[in-house]
């Protein structure tokens, strides 16, 4: 059962302040409406994982790591590698995260990131086949939210793509139906650099990259993932409220522009091929 969430109360004063500033095109932390917070990316944070990145977007801090394995392919895609995204909202990150099985928030976050990567074809899954129908690479992307100050979606997409961009896969030699792990590695090629742009709405006003208080005070958010070719590969409205069709269409152009900019900043440390 999905149940109406009980948001921590943002003090009336704080909320009023957010709205008052918004009316003037300003924000509590001094940013402009369409400005992202400071972004810091640290690659290969977990040396023992095949790929990893620690991303800080303001005070939001997310660690993404990629574990590579070998698995049986799914029956309907015998020639494709397996990609799984999992997100853990660990309780040390926030008083609202609780230990236990994945919450609907963490499931929805993981599934959005999964779609952003899978649909953008950032990873060419057909290049991850070792023996068709029998042995393929499996990439497990684990997102670990370490500090929570809003906009998990955009930060998670950035962390995941950076982690993939650092991923090295072991080579295998094939002998008949058996494979043997070699002591050589190859770099995973990224075919696209998707970025997600998240808007928080307050009545008919909106801003990007909401911090936690802005998220709590907002009516709803809309996230859009843009590919390198300016096409879209994932969109999701989260939370109640409604948006007019015209209001929605307006975001498409904005997202293309903001996406270009964010992509440049977010992926400056990883190379792209393909």
């Amino acid at each position: 059962m999905s149940i109406t969430e009980q948001r921590p109360i943002v003090s009336k004063l704080e909320k009023q302040e957010i709205y008052r500033l918004l009316a003037e095109g300003k924000r509590v932390d001094g940013r402009s409406l369409l400005q992202y917070r400071n972004l810091d990316v640290q690659l290969d944070y977990i040396e023992k994982a095949e790929g990893s990145a620690l991303v800080e977007l303001g005070n939001t801090k997310i660690l993404a790591a990629v574990k590579v394995g070998v698995a049986l392919p799914f029956a309907d895609t015998p020639n494709e590698g397996i990609l799984i995204v999992n997100a853990e909202l660990v309780p040390l990150a926030s008083p609202v995260f609780e230990p236990g099985p994945p919450s609907e928030e963490s499931i929805s976050l993981a599934r959005y990131v999964d779609r952003s990567i899978r649909e953008s074809k950032a990873v060419d899954l057909s290049s991850l086949c070792i023996i068709p129908g029998r042995s393929v690479y499996s990439l497990y992307i684990d997102l670990y939210i370490l500090d929570y100050d809003g906009n998990l979606i955009d930060a998670s997409v950035i962390a995941s793509v950076n982690a993939l961009g650092t991923t090295k896969l072991p080579k295998y030699s094939v002998e008949g139906q058996n494979i043997k792990k070699l002591d050589e590695y190859f770099k995973l090629e990224l075919k696209d650099l998707p970025v997600s742009i998240t808007y928080a709405f307050f009545g008919d006003k909106y801003l990007v990259d909401p911090c936690l208080n802005e998220e709590y005070a907002s009516d709803f958010t809309i996230s859009m993932t843009v590919k390198s070719d300016d096409r879209f590969c994932a969109i999701q409205k989260n939370g109640g409220g409604m948006i007019s069709p015209r209001g929605f269409l307006e975001l498409l152009d904005k997202s293309i522009t903001l996406g270009k900019e964010l992509r440049r900043v977010a992926y400056s440390k990883i190379a792209v091929n393909g």
Partner: protein
């Protein structure tokens, strides 16, 4: 996945003989269950979906209640036999996400402030799935709420739009969902001119999204009319019974 399957025939029709902007046949019946406060049944293509509403009722345990409005609880669930391969009855990650997405779409529709400290339960059971179940389920859930006599801000209808074989289409069936290029479920409230549910996966350009959205609005307006008819039928039956 995404192996080359042709989703359009030579005559420009879709594999089930529809035009790109043509809805599948829709059959809706309101008030189909005896225990639920409100209920509705929808068939859209081969989709067969039941929705039921219980409440408003006291929210227990108390700590889940809200002092200024009622809360919603929503479960979107697929019957084990609704899919080609038997599905475990335990909720999948997809079902958990869709329960949330549908609840979100209903939050602004229900006049929740009329019923503080209460809860409304919304159950959607997909008996047979044929693409677009979250939208058809939402269309039915809105009617179950209306059937339960819960004050709503208009009616919301939902329909997926998307892209297949390079063409923008409406109301994707199972195959178009699986082998097409993009799927964009949308719920739209014509009374308030508001989109309450919006997701997209697959690849679409800005122009294609604009075109798809326009198709979606036309489609949901059509479904909205069928919703109104179904409510009228329910009402007249009640009158006849009285």
């Amino acid at each position: 996945m995404n192996e080359k399957i042709s989703l359009f025939k030579e005559n420009g029709k879709r594999i089930d003989d529809r035009a790109p902007d043509e809805l599948r046949p829709i059959k809706i019946k309101v008030g189909v269950l005896s225990n639920a406060q409100g209920s509705a049944y929808i068939e859209q293509g081969k989709n067969k979906i039941l929705a039921a509403v219980y409440g408003p009722k006291e929210a227990l345990p108390k700590h889940i209640s809200l002092p200024d409005r009622c809360i919603l609880r929503c479960r979107y669930h697929m019957a084990p036999f609704s899919t080609p391969e038997r599905k475990s009855p335990a909720p999948s990650r997809r079902e958990i996400e869709l329960s949330m997405i549908i609840r979100n779409a209903l939050e602004s529709l229900v006049m929740t402030s009329l019923f503080p400290r209460t809860v409304i339960d919304i159950f959607i059971e997909v008996l047979q799935a044929d693409g677009g179940t979250r939208c058809a389920g939402l269309t039915a859930a809105v009617l179950a709420l209306a059937d339960a006599g819960i004050p709503l801000r208009g009616l919301t209808a939902a329909c997926a739009v998307g892209k297949a074989d390079g063409k923008v289409i409406v109301d994707l069936n199972d195959l178009e969902d699986k082998y097409g290029e993009a799927d964009m479920p949308i719920a739209y409230n014509p009374t308030l001119d508001g989109i309450t549910l919006l997701q997209m996966d697959g690849i679409m350009s800005k122009e294609e999204i604009e075109q798809a959205l326009s198709l979606a609005i036309t489609a949901t307006q059509k479904i909205h009319k069928i919703q109104v008819e179904a409510l009228k039928d329910r009402f007249s039956v009640t009158k006849r019974e009285v």
